[in-house]
Amino acid sequence: MVDGALAITPGRGGIFGRSSDAIWRNPKMFLFLLLLPPLLWLGVVYIGSLLALLVQSFFSIDEFTGLVKREFTLKTYRELLHPANLDIIVRTVSTAVVVTLSAAVVAFPIAYYAARYARGRWKAVFYLGIMLPLWSSYLVKIYAWKLILAKEGILNWLFAQLHLTWLLDAVLAIPIIGGNSLSVSYLGTCIVFLYVWLPFMILPLQASLERVPVNLLEASSDLGAEPVKTFRYVILPLAMPGLIAGSIFTFSLTLGDYIIPQIIGSSRLFIGQAVYAHQGTAGNIPLAAAFTVVPIVVMGFYLWMAKRQGAFDAL
Protein backbone atom coordinates (compact mmCIF):
# COMPACT_ATOMS: atom_id res chain seq x y z
CA MET A 1 0.00 0.00 0.00
CA VAL A 2 2.99 2.31 -0.45
CA ASP A 3 1.64 4.02 -3.53
CA GLY A 4 -1.66 4.86 -1.81
CA ALA A 5 -0.58 8.51 -1.73
CA LEU A 6 -0.49 8.61 -5.53
CA ALA A 7 -4.10 7.61 -5.91
CA ILE A 8 -6.60 10.31 -6.81
CA THR A 9 -9.29 9.03 -4.49
CA PRO A 10 -8.52 7.81 -1.01
CA GLY A 11 -8.39 4.01 -0.46
CA ARG A 12 -11.68 2.22 -0.06
CA GLY A 13 -12.85 1.21 3.39
CA GLY A 14 -14.33 -2.02 4.61
CA ILE A 15 -13.20 -5.57 3.97
CA PHE A 16 -14.63 -5.68 0.42
CA GLY A 17 -13.13 -2.34 -0.47
CA ARG A 18 -9.73 -3.03 0.92
CA SER A 19 -9.49 -6.50 -0.57
CA SER A 20 -10.51 -5.24 -4.01
CA ASP A 21 -7.89 -2.50 -3.71
CA ALA A 22 -5.29 -5.09 -2.83
CA ILE A 23 -6.30 -7.25 -5.76
CA TRP A 24 -6.31 -4.31 -8.13
CA ARG A 25 -2.80 -3.30 -7.11
CA ASN A 26 -1.50 -6.81 -7.41
CA PRO A 27 -2.59 -8.34 -10.72
CA LYS A 28 -0.26 -11.31 -10.29
CA MET A 29 -1.95 -12.34 -7.08
CA PHE A 30 -5.35 -11.79 -8.68
CA LEU A 31 -4.35 -14.04 -11.55
CA PHE A 32 -3.15 -16.64 -9.09
CA LEU A 33 -6.45 -16.51 -7.21
CA LEU A 34 -8.40 -16.85 -10.46
CA LEU A 35 -6.40 -19.83 -11.61
CA LEU A 36 -6.14 -21.64 -8.30
CA PRO A 37 -9.51 -23.49 -8.27
CA PRO A 38 -9.43 -24.66 -11.92
CA LEU A 39 -5.79 -25.68 -11.58
CA LEU A 40 -6.50 -27.60 -8.41
CA TRP A 41 -9.34 -29.43 -10.11
CA LEU A 42 -7.87 -30.08 -13.55
CA GLY A 43 -4.19 -30.01 -12.73
CA VAL A 44 -4.24 -32.01 -9.53
CA VAL A 45 -7.32 -34.24 -9.64
CA TYR A 46 -7.46 -34.89 -13.35
CA ILE A 47 -3.80 -34.90 -14.36
CA GLY A 48 -3.00 -36.70 -11.09
CA SER A 49 -5.41 -39.49 -12.01
CA LEU A 50 -3.95 -39.73 -15.50
CA LEU A 51 -0.43 -39.97 -14.12
CA ALA A 52 -1.49 -42.58 -11.57
CA LEU A 53 -2.95 -44.58 -14.41
CA LEU A 54 0.25 -44.22 -16.40
CA VAL A 55 2.29 -45.41 -13.44
CA GLN A 56 0.10 -48.46 -13.03
CA SER A 57 0.75 -49.49 -16.62
CA PHE A 58 4.35 -50.15 -15.54
CA PHE A 59 3.19 -52.57 -12.86
CA SER A 60 2.34 -56.14 -13.66
CA ILE A 61 -0.10 -58.73 -12.50
CA ASP A 62 1.07 -61.84 -10.67
CA GLU A 63 -0.07 -64.80 -12.72
CA PHE A 64 -0.62 -67.05 -9.71
CA THR A 65 -2.27 -64.79 -7.16
CA GLY A 66 -3.92 -62.40 -9.63
CA LEU A 67 -2.74 -59.46 -7.52
CA VAL A 68 -1.01 -56.37 -8.84
CA LYS A 69 2.75 -56.36 -8.21
CA ARG A 70 3.94 -52.82 -7.58
CA GLU A 71 7.35 -53.07 -9.22
CA PHE A 72 8.55 -51.32 -12.33
CA THR A 73 8.42 -53.60 -15.35
CA LEU A 74 7.79 -53.41 -19.08
CA LYS A 75 6.19 -56.85 -19.05
CA THR A 76 2.67 -55.46 -19.46
CA TYR A 77 3.68 -53.55 -22.56
CA ARG A 78 5.18 -56.73 -24.01
CA GLU A 79 1.78 -58.31 -23.47
CA LEU A 80 0.27 -55.67 -25.73
CA LEU A 81 2.28 -57.16 -28.58
CA HIS A 82 0.62 -60.58 -28.26
CA PRO A 83 -1.14 -61.34 -31.57
CA ALA A 84 -4.59 -61.20 -29.92
CA ASN A 85 -3.96 -57.77 -28.39
CA LEU A 86 -2.16 -56.43 -31.45
CA ASP A 87 -5.17 -57.53 -33.47
CA ILE A 88 -7.43 -55.36 -31.28
CA ILE A 89 -5.17 -52.35 -31.71
CA VAL A 90 -4.93 -52.74 -35.49
CA ARG A 91 -8.70 -53.22 -35.80
CA THR A 92 -9.46 -50.11 -33.74
CA VAL A 93 -6.95 -47.85 -35.48
CA SER A 94 -7.99 -48.98 -38.97
CA THR A 95 -11.66 -48.43 -38.08
CA ALA A 96 -10.76 -44.93 -36.92
CA VAL A 97 -9.07 -44.29 -40.27
CA VAL A 98 -12.04 -45.60 -42.28
CA VAL A 99 -14.54 -43.63 -40.20
CA THR A 100 -12.48 -40.44 -40.48
CA LEU A 101 -12.10 -40.68 -44.25
CA SER A 102 -15.76 -41.44 -44.88
CA ALA A 103 -16.81 -38.67 -42.48
CA ALA A 104 -14.69 -36.22 -44.50
CA VAL A 105 -16.37 -37.31 -47.74
CA VAL A 106 -19.92 -37.11 -46.36
CA ALA A 107 -19.26 -33.87 -44.45
CA PHE A 108 -17.71 -31.91 -47.30
CA PRO A 109 -20.83 -31.18 -49.39
CA ILE A 110 -22.84 -30.21 -46.28
CA ALA A 111 -20.09 -27.93 -44.99
CA TYR A 112 -19.42 -26.43 -48.41
CA TYR A 113 -23.07 -25.70 -49.08
CA ALA A 114 -23.56 -24.23 -45.61
CA ALA A 115 -20.45 -22.06 -45.95
CA ARG A 116 -20.91 -20.82 -49.49
CA TYR A 117 -24.55 -20.87 -50.51
CA ALA A 118 -26.73 -20.94 -47.39
CA ARG A 119 -27.81 -17.56 -46.09
CA GLY A 120 -30.51 -15.95 -44.01
CA ARG A 121 -33.07 -18.51 -42.96
CA TRP A 122 -31.18 -21.37 -44.60
CA LYS A 123 -28.04 -20.53 -42.67
CA ALA A 124 -30.02 -21.08 -39.46
CA VAL A 125 -31.53 -24.30 -40.83
CA PHE A 126 -28.09 -25.66 -41.61
CA TYR A 127 -26.65 -24.55 -38.29
CA LEU A 128 -29.41 -26.16 -36.25
CA GLY A 129 -29.51 -29.09 -38.65
CA ILE A 130 -25.95 -29.87 -37.62
CA MET A 131 -26.16 -28.83 -33.97
CA LEU A 132 -29.27 -30.82 -33.05
CA PRO A 133 -27.92 -34.22 -34.11
CA LEU A 134 -24.57 -33.29 -32.53
CA TRP A 135 -26.14 -32.62 -29.16
CA SER A 136 -28.91 -35.17 -29.11
CA SER A 137 -28.35 -38.16 -26.90
CA TYR A 138 -25.52 -40.44 -27.90
CA LEU A 139 -27.32 -43.57 -26.69
CA VAL A 140 -30.55 -42.62 -28.41
CA LYS A 141 -28.64 -42.27 -31.68
CA ILE A 142 -27.14 -45.73 -31.23
CA TYR A 143 -30.56 -47.06 -30.31
CA ALA A 144 -32.05 -45.56 -33.46
CA TRP A 145 -29.47 -47.43 -35.52
CA LYS A 146 -30.23 -50.64 -33.70
CA LEU A 147 -33.82 -50.17 -34.86
CA ILE A 148 -32.70 -49.39 -38.40
CA LEU A 149 -30.16 -52.17 -38.83
CA ALA A 150 -32.14 -54.95 -37.11
CA LYS A 151 -33.11 -57.91 -39.27
CA GLU A 152 -36.80 -57.02 -39.04
CA GLY A 153 -35.94 -53.29 -39.22
CA ILE A 154 -36.55 -50.55 -41.73
CA LEU A 155 -33.42 -50.99 -43.86
CA ASN A 156 -34.06 -54.65 -44.64
CA TRP A 157 -37.68 -53.75 -45.37
CA LEU A 158 -36.53 -51.01 -47.74
CA PHE A 159 -34.17 -53.34 -49.58
CA ALA A 160 -37.00 -55.87 -49.90
CA GLN A 161 -39.39 -53.24 -51.27
CA LEU A 162 -36.83 -52.28 -53.90
CA HIS A 163 -36.16 -55.97 -54.70
CA LEU A 164 -32.52 -55.45 -53.75
CA THR A 165 -32.26 -58.03 -50.97
CA TRP A 166 -29.74 -59.96 -53.10
CA LEU A 167 -27.44 -56.90 -53.02
CA LEU A 168 -27.57 -56.65 -49.24
CA ASP A 169 -26.92 -60.39 -48.91
CA ALA A 170 -23.96 -60.12 -51.26
CA VAL A 171 -22.46 -57.29 -49.17
CA LEU A 172 -23.04 -59.20 -45.95
CA ALA A 173 -21.33 -62.26 -47.44
CA ILE A 174 -18.01 -60.37 -47.77
CA PRO A 175 -15.74 -62.04 -45.16
CA ILE A 176 -14.43 -59.36 -42.76
CA ILE A 177 -16.99 -56.58 -43.00
CA GLY A 178 -20.09 -58.82 -43.33
CA GLY A 179 -22.02 -60.92 -40.86
CA ASN A 180 -25.41 -62.44 -40.19
CA SER A 181 -27.19 -59.11 -40.39
CA LEU A 182 -26.10 -55.49 -40.57
CA SER A 183 -26.53 -55.02 -36.82
CA VAL A 184 -23.90 -57.66 -36.04
CA SER A 185 -21.44 -56.75 -38.80
CA TYR A 186 -18.32 -54.64 -38.90
CA LEU A 187 -19.98 -52.61 -41.66
CA GLY A 188 -22.80 -51.74 -39.25
CA THR A 189 -20.30 -50.60 -36.62
CA CYS A 190 -18.64 -48.29 -39.13
CA ILE A 191 -21.96 -46.79 -40.28
CA VAL A 192 -22.95 -45.99 -36.70
CA PHE A 193 -19.51 -44.49 -35.92
CA LEU A 194 -19.82 -42.36 -39.06
CA TYR A 195 -23.30 -41.21 -38.08
CA VAL A 196 -22.48 -40.37 -34.49
CA TRP A 197 -19.26 -38.43 -35.19
CA LEU A 198 -20.27 -36.75 -38.49
CA PRO A 199 -21.26 -33.37 -36.96
CA PHE A 200 -17.81 -33.15 -35.32
CA MET A 201 -16.33 -33.18 -38.81
CA ILE A 202 -18.82 -30.78 -40.40
CA LEU A 203 -18.42 -27.90 -37.93
CA PRO A 204 -14.64 -27.23 -38.18
CA LEU A 205 -14.73 -27.95 -41.92
CA GLN A 206 -17.47 -25.37 -42.38
CA ALA A 207 -15.53 -22.86 -40.27
CA SER A 208 -12.46 -23.23 -42.47
CA LEU A 209 -14.47 -23.11 -45.71
CA GLU A 210 -16.13 -19.90 -44.60
CA ARG A 211 -12.70 -18.26 -44.58
CA VAL A 212 -11.97 -19.14 -48.21
CA PRO A 213 -12.20 -15.88 -50.20
CA VAL A 214 -14.59 -16.20 -53.14
CA ASN A 215 -12.34 -14.17 -55.43
CA LEU A 216 -9.70 -16.89 -55.23
CA LEU A 217 -12.21 -19.34 -56.70
CA GLU A 218 -13.19 -16.81 -59.36
CA ALA A 219 -9.54 -16.17 -60.19
CA SER A 220 -8.94 -19.88 -60.49
CA SER A 221 -11.78 -20.36 -62.96
CA ASP A 222 -10.91 -17.16 -64.83
CA LEU A 223 -7.44 -18.55 -65.32
CA GLY A 224 -8.95 -21.59 -66.97
CA ALA A 225 -9.14 -24.23 -64.25
CA GLU A 226 -12.10 -26.61 -64.41
CA PRO A 227 -14.11 -27.03 -61.17
CA VAL A 228 -12.24 -30.25 -60.36
CA LYS A 229 -8.89 -28.47 -60.59
CA THR A 230 -10.14 -25.53 -58.53
CA PHE A 231 -11.26 -28.00 -55.91
CA ARG A 232 -7.98 -29.89 -55.93
CA TYR A 233 -5.59 -26.92 -55.93
CA VAL A 234 -7.53 -24.10 -54.25
CA ILE A 235 -10.38 -25.30 -52.04
CA LEU A 236 -8.85 -28.47 -50.64
CA PRO A 237 -5.55 -26.94 -49.43
CA LEU A 238 -7.44 -24.06 -47.81
CA ALA A 239 -9.90 -26.45 -46.18
CA MET A 240 -7.11 -28.66 -44.85
CA PRO A 241 -6.89 -27.13 -41.34
CA GLY A 242 -10.63 -27.70 -40.92
CA LEU A 243 -10.40 -31.26 -42.19
CA ILE A 244 -7.57 -32.00 -39.79
CA ALA A 245 -9.36 -30.40 -36.87
CA GLY A 246 -12.47 -32.46 -37.62
CA SER A 247 -10.44 -35.62 -38.03
CA ILE A 248 -8.97 -35.10 -34.55
CA PHE A 249 -12.47 -35.54 -33.16
CA THR A 250 -13.58 -38.43 -35.35
CA PHE A 251 -10.28 -40.23 -34.85
CA SER A 252 -10.03 -39.76 -31.10
CA LEU A 253 -13.69 -40.53 -30.45
CA THR A 254 -13.54 -43.74 -32.48
CA LEU A 255 -10.35 -44.86 -30.74
CA GLY A 256 -11.87 -44.58 -27.29
CA ASP A 257 -15.42 -45.72 -27.82
CA TYR A 258 -16.49 -49.02 -26.39
CA ILE A 259 -20.27 -48.76 -26.44
CA ILE A 260 -20.95 -48.68 -30.17
CA PRO A 261 -18.99 -51.85 -31.04
CA GLN A 262 -20.54 -53.55 -28.03
CA ILE A 263 -24.11 -52.85 -29.15
CA ILE A 264 -23.77 -52.89 -32.92
CA GLY A 265 -21.07 -55.10 -34.34
CA SER A 266 -19.44 -58.48 -34.33
CA SER A 267 -18.02 -59.95 -31.16
CA ARG A 268 -14.47 -58.91 -32.10
CA LEU A 269 -13.13 -56.45 -29.56
CA PHE A 270 -12.05 -52.81 -29.86
CA ILE A 271 -9.49 -51.08 -27.59
CA GLY A 272 -12.21 -49.58 -25.41
CA GLN A 273 -13.87 -52.94 -24.85
CA ALA A 274 -10.53 -54.51 -23.98
CA VAL A 275 -9.85 -51.77 -21.43
CA TYR A 276 -13.27 -52.21 -19.92
CA ALA A 277 -12.94 -56.00 -19.74
CA HIS A 278 -9.44 -55.92 -18.22
CA GLN A 279 -10.22 -53.36 -15.52
CA GLY A 280 -13.57 -54.92 -14.63
CA THR A 281 -14.00 -58.64 -14.07
CA ALA A 282 -10.39 -59.55 -14.85
CA GLY A 283 -9.03 -56.96 -12.40
CA ASN A 284 -5.95 -56.53 -14.57
CA ILE A 285 -5.54 -52.77 -14.12
CA PRO A 286 -1.94 -52.73 -15.46
CA LEU A 287 -2.94 -54.22 -18.82
CA ALA A 288 -6.00 -51.97 -19.03
CA ALA A 289 -3.77 -48.98 -18.30
CA ALA A 290 -1.27 -50.07 -20.95
CA PHE A 291 -4.13 -50.33 -23.44
CA THR A 292 -5.21 -46.77 -22.73
CA VAL A 293 -1.68 -45.58 -23.44
CA VAL A 294 -2.15 -46.67 -27.08
CA PRO A 295 -4.81 -44.04 -27.92
CA ILE A 296 -2.89 -41.45 -25.91
CA VAL A 297 0.25 -42.07 -27.95
CA VAL A 298 -1.66 -42.19 -31.25
CA MET A 299 -3.54 -38.99 -30.41
CA GLY A 300 -0.39 -37.26 -29.16
CA PHE A 301 1.31 -37.95 -32.46
CA TYR A 302 -1.81 -36.88 -34.34
CA LEU A 303 -2.13 -33.62 -32.39
CA TRP A 304 1.53 -32.84 -32.96
CA MET A 305 1.06 -33.29 -36.71
CA ALA A 306 -2.11 -31.21 -36.62
CA LYS A 307 -0.39 -28.40 -34.76
CA ARG A 308 2.30 -28.26 -37.41
CA GLN A 309 -0.41 -27.91 -40.05
CA GLY A 310 -2.01 -25.04 -38.13
CA ALA A 311 -5.27 -26.89 -37.53
CA PHE A 312 -5.92 -25.43 -34.09
CA ASP A 313 -7.00 -22.11 -35.56
CA ALA A 314 -10.01 -23.88 -37.06
CA LEU A 315 -11.23 -25.45 -33.80
Binding site: F16, S20, D21, I23, W24, L31, L34, L35, P38, W41, L42, G43, Y46, G48, S49, A52, L53, V106, A107, P109, I110, Y113, A115, R116, Y117, L128, G129, I130, L132, P133, W135, S136, Y138, L139, V140, K141, Y143, A144, L147, G153, I154, Y195, L198, L209, V212, V214, L217, S252, L253, L255, G256, D257, I259, I263, V275, Q279, A288, A289, P295, M299
Partner: protein, 271 residues
Protein backbone atom coordinates in the same frame (compact mmCIF):
# COMPACT_ATOMS: atom_id res chain seq x y z
CA UNK B 1 -17.18 -17.01 -48.24
CA UNK B 2 -20.33 -15.83 -49.93
CA UNK B 3 -20.43 -15.90 -53.65
CA UNK B 4 -22.00 -12.91 -55.38
CA UNK B 5 -21.60 -14.06 -58.93
CA UNK B 6 -22.94 -17.58 -59.06
CA UNK B 7 -25.32 -17.79 -56.13
CA UNK B 8 -26.88 -20.97 -57.52
CA UNK B 9 -25.28 -24.12 -56.20
CA UNK B 10 -24.66 -26.96 -58.66
CA UNK B 11 -27.43 -29.53 -58.49
CA UNK B 12 -25.10 -32.35 -57.43
CA UNK B 13 -23.87 -30.29 -54.47
CA UNK B 14 -27.45 -29.51 -53.45
CA UNK B 15 -28.32 -33.20 -53.63
CA UNK B 16 -25.28 -34.31 -51.65
CA UNK B 17 -25.83 -31.65 -48.98
CA UNK B 18 -29.50 -32.45 -48.51
CA UNK B 19 -28.82 -36.18 -48.52
CA UNK B 20 -26.26 -35.57 -45.77
CA UNK B 21 -28.75 -33.58 -43.68
CA UNK B 22 -31.38 -36.29 -44.15
CA UNK B 23 -28.85 -38.90 -43.06
CA UNK B 24 -28.35 -36.88 -39.88
CA UNK B 25 -32.03 -36.48 -39.09
CA UNK B 26 -34.03 -39.48 -40.29
CA UNK B 27 -32.69 -41.90 -37.65
CA UNK B 28 -33.73 -39.56 -34.83
CA UNK B 29 -37.19 -39.10 -36.32
CA UNK B 30 -37.61 -42.85 -36.43
CA UNK B 31 -37.52 -42.85 -32.63
CA UNK B 32 -40.76 -40.86 -32.61
CA UNK B 33 -42.52 -43.52 -34.68
CA UNK B 34 -41.29 -46.41 -32.59
CA UNK B 35 -42.46 -44.80 -29.34
CA UNK B 36 -46.06 -45.46 -30.41
CA UNK B 37 -45.75 -48.93 -31.91
CA UNK B 38 -47.89 -51.81 -30.64
CA UNK B 39 -45.10 -54.33 -31.30
CA UNK B 40 -43.47 -55.47 -28.05
CA UNK B 41 -40.98 -58.18 -28.87
CA UNK B 42 -39.04 -56.96 -31.90
CA UNK B 43 -38.07 -53.87 -33.90
CA UNK B 44 -40.53 -54.71 -36.66
CA UNK B 45 -40.99 -52.23 -39.50
CA UNK B 46 -43.51 -51.05 -40.53
CA UNK B 47 -45.13 -50.98 -37.08
CA UNK B 48 -48.23 -53.21 -36.98
CA UNK B 49 -50.25 -50.56 -35.17
CA UNK B 50 -50.06 -47.45 -33.00
CA UNK B 51 -50.94 -46.95 -29.35
CA UNK B 52 -50.49 -44.43 -26.54
CA UNK B 53 -50.42 -47.17 -23.94
CA UNK B 54 -46.63 -47.15 -23.46
CA UNK B 55 -46.56 -43.52 -22.41
CA UNK B 56 -48.70 -44.45 -19.41
CA UNK B 57 -46.68 -47.59 -18.67
CA UNK B 58 -43.44 -45.60 -18.67
CA UNK B 59 -44.97 -42.92 -16.45
CA UNK B 60 -45.60 -45.57 -13.77
CA UNK B 61 -42.09 -47.00 -13.79
CA UNK B 62 -40.25 -46.02 -10.55
CA UNK B 63 -36.83 -47.06 -11.92
CA UNK B 64 -37.13 -44.59 -14.80
CA UNK B 65 -38.08 -41.77 -12.44
CA UNK B 66 -35.23 -42.59 -10.08
CA UNK B 67 -32.70 -42.61 -12.92
CA UNK B 68 -34.09 -39.35 -14.23
CA UNK B 69 -33.85 -37.74 -10.81
CA UNK B 70 -30.23 -38.78 -10.38
CA UNK B 71 -29.35 -37.55 -13.88
CA UNK B 72 -30.90 -34.15 -13.28
CA UNK B 73 -29.15 -33.86 -9.91
CA UNK B 74 -25.76 -34.84 -11.30
CA UNK B 75 -26.13 -32.55 -14.31
CA UNK B 76 -27.12 -29.57 -12.13
CA UNK B 77 -24.21 -30.00 -9.74
CA UNK B 78 -21.69 -30.55 -12.53
CA UNK B 79 -22.99 -27.49 -14.34
CA UNK B 80 -22.53 -25.34 -11.23
CA UNK B 81 -18.96 -26.55 -10.73
CA UNK B 82 -18.19 -26.14 -14.44
CA UNK B 83 -19.62 -22.61 -14.43
CA UNK B 84 -17.37 -21.60 -11.54
CA UNK B 85 -14.18 -23.19 -12.82
CA UNK B 86 -14.78 -22.34 -16.48
CA UNK B 87 -15.45 -18.66 -15.79
CA UNK B 88 -12.43 -18.31 -13.52
CA UNK B 89 -10.22 -19.93 -16.12
CA UNK B 90 -11.64 -17.83 -18.96
CA UNK B 91 -11.19 -14.62 -16.97
CA UNK B 92 -7.55 -15.45 -16.28
CA UNK B 93 -6.74 -16.52 -19.82
CA UNK B 94 -8.41 -13.64 -21.61
CA UNK B 95 -7.14 -10.87 -19.31
CA UNK B 96 -3.45 -11.46 -19.21
CA UNK B 97 -0.50 -13.09 -20.84
CA UNK B 98 1.63 -15.23 -18.60
CA UNK B 99 3.95 -18.17 -18.70
CA UNK B 100 2.09 -21.43 -19.16
CA UNK B 101 -1.03 -19.80 -20.61
CA UNK B 102 -1.10 -22.16 -23.58
CA UNK B 103 -0.67 -25.12 -21.26
CA UNK B 104 -3.71 -24.12 -19.27
CA UNK B 105 -5.94 -23.83 -22.33
CA UNK B 106 -4.69 -27.25 -23.40
CA UNK B 107 -5.42 -28.58 -19.92
CA UNK B 108 -9.03 -27.43 -20.17
CA UNK B 109 -9.53 -29.09 -23.57
CA UNK B 110 -7.76 -32.31 -22.60
CA UNK B 111 -10.72 -34.04 -20.85
CA UNK B 112 -12.76 -34.00 -24.07
CA UNK B 113 -9.82 -34.33 -26.47
CA UNK B 114 -8.79 -37.59 -24.85
CA UNK B 115 -11.21 -40.48 -25.35
CA UNK B 116 -13.78 -40.65 -22.53
CA UNK B 117 -12.67 -44.11 -21.56
CA UNK B 118 -9.27 -42.78 -20.51
CA UNK B 119 -10.79 -40.10 -18.29
CA UNK B 120 -13.12 -42.75 -16.92
CA UNK B 121 -10.58 -45.41 -16.05
CA UNK B 122 -8.07 -42.85 -14.75
CA UNK B 123 -10.63 -41.46 -12.32
CA UNK B 124 -11.84 -44.91 -11.33
CA UNK B 125 -8.39 -46.20 -10.52
CA UNK B 126 -7.63 -42.96 -8.66
CA UNK B 127 -10.81 -43.42 -6.58
CA UNK B 128 -9.74 -46.98 -5.86
CA UNK B 129 -6.24 -45.93 -4.84
CA UNK B 130 -7.60 -43.18 -2.59
CA UNK B 131 -10.32 -45.53 -1.31
CA UNK B 132 -13.14 -43.13 -2.11
CA UNK B 133 -16.46 -45.01 -2.26
CA UNK B 134 -18.50 -44.56 -5.43
CA UNK B 135 -21.45 -42.24 -5.00
CA UNK B 136 -23.30 -39.48 -6.74
CA UNK B 137 -20.34 -37.23 -5.92
CA UNK B 138 -17.84 -39.35 -7.82
CA UNK B 139 -20.12 -39.10 -10.87
CA UNK B 140 -20.27 -35.31 -10.46
CA UNK B 141 -16.50 -35.14 -10.18
CA UNK B 142 -16.08 -36.93 -13.49
CA UNK B 143 -18.74 -34.92 -15.28
CA UNK B 144 -17.57 -31.52 -14.08
CA UNK B 145 -14.08 -32.28 -15.39
CA UNK B 146 -15.19 -32.39 -19.00
CA UNK B 147 -18.03 -29.84 -18.66
CA UNK B 148 -15.55 -27.07 -17.79
CA UNK B 149 -14.49 -26.80 -21.41
CA UNK B 150 -17.88 -25.81 -22.85
CA UNK B 151 -18.37 -23.06 -20.27
CA UNK B 152 -14.78 -21.97 -20.79
CA UNK B 153 -15.19 -21.77 -24.59
CA UNK B 154 -18.32 -19.65 -24.36
CA UNK B 155 -16.95 -17.39 -21.63
CA UNK B 156 -13.54 -16.84 -23.21
CA UNK B 157 -15.13 -15.73 -26.50
CA UNK B 158 -17.32 -13.22 -24.65
CA UNK B 159 -14.48 -11.94 -22.45
CA UNK B 160 -12.47 -11.20 -25.58
CA UNK B 161 -15.32 -9.14 -27.01
CA UNK B 162 -15.84 -7.24 -23.76
CA UNK B 163 -13.57 -4.25 -23.43
CA UNK B 164 -11.21 -4.25 -20.45
CA UNK B 165 -11.60 -0.49 -20.12
CA UNK B 166 -15.16 -1.02 -18.84
CA UNK B 167 -13.74 -2.73 -15.78
CA UNK B 168 -11.03 -0.10 -15.34
CA UNK B 169 -13.67 2.61 -15.53
CA UNK B 170 -15.86 0.90 -12.96
CA UNK B 171 -12.98 0.53 -10.52
CA UNK B 172 -11.82 4.12 -11.10
CA UNK B 173 -15.31 5.40 -10.38
CA UNK B 174 -15.14 3.82 -6.95
CA UNK B 175 -16.91 0.49 -7.29
CA UNK B 176 -15.25 -2.35 -5.43
CA UNK B 177 -14.39 -5.62 -7.12
CA UNK B 178 -17.66 -7.25 -6.16
CA UNK B 179 -19.78 -4.38 -7.41
CA UNK B 180 -17.81 -4.38 -10.64
CA UNK B 181 -18.46 -8.07 -11.00
CA UNK B 182 -22.15 -7.70 -10.22
CA UNK B 183 -22.94 -4.63 -12.32
CA UNK B 184 -20.35 -4.64 -15.12
CA UNK B 185 -18.89 -8.09 -15.74
CA UNK B 186 -21.93 -10.27 -15.08
CA UNK B 187 -24.34 -8.40 -17.40
CA UNK B 188 -21.74 -8.64 -20.15
CA UNK B 189 -20.96 -12.33 -19.85
CA UNK B 190 -24.35 -13.46 -18.49
CA UNK B 191 -25.82 -14.82 -21.70
CA UNK B 192 -22.57 -16.57 -22.61
CA UNK B 193 -22.59 -18.26 -19.21
CA UNK B 194 -26.24 -19.20 -19.60
CA UNK B 195 -25.54 -20.77 -22.99
CA UNK B 196 -22.41 -22.50 -21.73
CA UNK B 197 -24.27 -23.75 -18.68
CA UNK B 198 -27.06 -25.21 -20.80
CA UNK B 199 -24.59 -27.01 -23.02
CA UNK B 200 -22.74 -28.30 -19.96
CA UNK B 201 -26.05 -29.55 -18.57
CA UNK B 202 -26.88 -31.31 -21.83
CA UNK B 203 -23.39 -32.81 -21.99
CA UNK B 204 -23.58 -34.17 -18.46
CA UNK B 205 -27.20 -35.32 -18.79
CA UNK B 206 -26.22 -37.45 -21.77
CA UNK B 207 -22.80 -38.73 -20.71
CA UNK B 208 -22.41 -42.48 -20.40
CA UNK B 209 -18.80 -43.57 -20.97
CA UNK B 210 -17.19 -41.78 -18.02
CA UNK B 211 -20.25 -42.51 -15.90
CA UNK B 212 -19.93 -46.28 -16.28
CA UNK B 213 -16.55 -45.97 -14.59
CA UNK B 214 -17.35 -43.44 -11.86
CA UNK B 215 -20.76 -44.77 -10.77
CA UNK B 216 -21.22 -47.57 -8.30
CA UNK B 217 -24.71 -49.00 -8.03
CA UNK B 218 -26.42 -45.73 -8.98
CA UNK B 219 -28.15 -45.54 -12.33
CA UNK B 220 -28.28 -42.33 -14.28
CA UNK B 221 -30.71 -42.24 -17.18
CA UNK B 222 -28.01 -43.02 -19.79
CA UNK B 223 -26.81 -45.96 -17.69
CA UNK B 224 -30.40 -47.18 -17.50
CA UNK B 225 -30.66 -46.94 -21.29
CA UNK B 226 -27.36 -48.69 -21.81
CA UNK B 227 -28.59 -51.52 -19.61
CA UNK B 228 -31.73 -51.77 -21.75
CA UNK B 229 -29.68 -51.73 -24.95
CA UNK B 230 -27.43 -54.54 -23.83
CA UNK B 231 -30.14 -56.64 -22.16
CA UNK B 232 -33.55 -55.47 -23.40
CA UNK B 233 -36.33 -56.04 -20.85
CA UNK B 234 -39.28 -54.04 -22.09
CA UNK B 235 -38.56 -52.53 -25.49
CA UNK B 236 -41.59 -50.22 -25.73
CA UNK B 237 -40.60 -48.49 -22.47
CA UNK B 238 -37.10 -47.91 -23.87
CA UNK B 239 -38.67 -46.43 -27.01
CA UNK B 240 -40.68 -43.94 -24.98
CA UNK B 241 -37.72 -42.99 -22.79
CA UNK B 242 -35.61 -42.46 -25.92
CA UNK B 243 -38.24 -40.12 -27.35
CA UNK B 244 -38.47 -38.13 -24.12
CA UNK B 245 -34.67 -37.82 -23.95
CA UNK B 246 -34.58 -36.44 -27.51
CA UNK B 247 -37.25 -33.86 -26.67
CA UNK B 248 -35.59 -32.87 -23.40
CA UNK B 249 -32.16 -32.33 -24.98
CA UNK B 250 -33.53 -30.39 -27.97
CA UNK B 251 -34.98 -27.63 -25.80
CA UNK B 252 -31.75 -26.39 -24.12
CA UNK B 253 -29.89 -26.60 -27.44
CA UNK B 254 -32.48 -24.43 -29.18
CA UNK B 255 -32.49 -22.03 -26.24
CA UNK B 256 -28.68 -21.82 -26.17
CA UNK B 257 -28.71 -21.08 -29.90
CA UNK B 258 -31.16 -18.19 -29.61
CA UNK B 259 -29.38 -16.75 -26.57
CA UNK B 260 -25.92 -16.68 -28.13
CA UNK B 261 -27.30 -15.39 -31.43
CA UNK B 262 -28.79 -12.34 -29.77
CA UNK B 263 -25.81 -11.87 -27.51
CA UNK B 264 -23.59 -10.44 -30.22
CA UNK B 265 -24.29 -6.88 -29.16
CA UNK B 266 -22.24 -6.50 -26.02
CA UNK B 267 -20.66 -3.52 -24.35
CA UNK B 268 -17.26 -2.21 -25.42
CA UNK B 269 -17.41 -4.03 -28.71
CA UNK B 270 -15.92 -1.18 -30.68
CA UNK B 271 -12.45 -1.95 -29.39
Amino acid sequence: MHSNVDSQAPRSLKLAASAGLLFLHLPIMLIFVYAFTTEEKSYQWPPPGFTLKWLAVTWDRPDVWQALKLSVGVASLSTIVALLLGTLCAAAISRSKFFGRETISLLVILPIALPGIITGIALRSAFNLAEIPFSMWTIVLGHATFCVVVVYNNAVARFRRTSASLIDASMDLGADGFQTFRYVILPNIGTALLAGGMLAFALSFDEVIVTTFTAGQQQTLPIWMLEELVRPRQRPVTNVVAMVVVLVTFLPILAAYYITREGHRTGGQSR
